[in-house]
Amino acid sequence: MNRRLFLKRSIAITSVSTAVSFGLLTPIKAFANTSAFKALSKKTQQQLSNAQEGEFVLKAPEIAENGSMVPITIDANHIPKVKNIAIYVHKNKVPLSAYFEILEASAFITTRIKMAETSMVTAVVSTESGSFIQNRTVKVTLGGCGG
């Protein structure tokens, strides 16, 4: 009886330790994003629901061959008193990609973002009187096989 228990326990212990050594059970110490940024992401999500479509330019490719480099341009110069510009990728792990505060600059931003998969990209331009959005669907073909 004792011998059986000992065997069982030793097997359990070895399996756990091998799992740890392979990195399966290591705790994730470095979080993907700061909690402040995640809160901001949620806030933007709420903003999306009561925003209306606005007239500004959102340039994004229809098909992105490489999801790790998708160029995005937002030009909202025609909208007066722009306060914030946000880029929101719906299917990313943390959907908010960038959040710009415009103080004494034109409402013009170009950057390159990462995308996990084919998803809708939303640009949110918020002013004192409300927020405006524009949507684009960007198709991501990893490996460049098309489709």
């Binding site: 990609s97 960038a98 415009i102 600059a105 170009t110 973002i113």
Partner: protein, 109 residues
């Protein structure tokens, strides 16, 4: 997708050019922008190392600020436009989640 640990020296490049009252600023930062979600071949999570804050100043006055996450591309590129003329001083600063600060100052052309 190479799995060797990257030791990229963080560098920053800035170009500012004025044209009819508007300065176009292009910034290229050399940074790995590791989001912390990616795993390497042995299954270990690559620790997060990405830029979190950007500030853009013109003649010591804040022009634009940004909070960015790990979902900006590696070696991030930004383009801004701010009203100004030739000779204005442009200052750009970035802070990453490890507390490293990069900054550059340039006179607009």
């Amino acid at each position: 997708m190479n799995n060797t640990p990257k030791k990229i020296m963080a560098k920053i490049k800035l170009k500012a050019k004025s044209r009819s009252g508007l300065i176009t600023i292009r910034v290229l930062i050399k940074h790995p922008m590791e989001s912390g979600n990616r795993k390497d071949k042995s299954g270990k999570v690559v620790p997060a190392n990405h830029i979190t804050h950007l500030t853009l100043k013109k003649n010591n006055r804040l022009a634009a600020k940004a909070m960015i996450g790990g979902s900006i591309s590696e070696n991030p590129f930004f383009q801004f436009k701010i009203p100004g003329i030739k000779g204005d001083e442009i200052h750009f600063e970035s802070i990453d989640n490890l507390g490293k600060t990069l900054q550059i100052s340039k006179i607009s052309k």
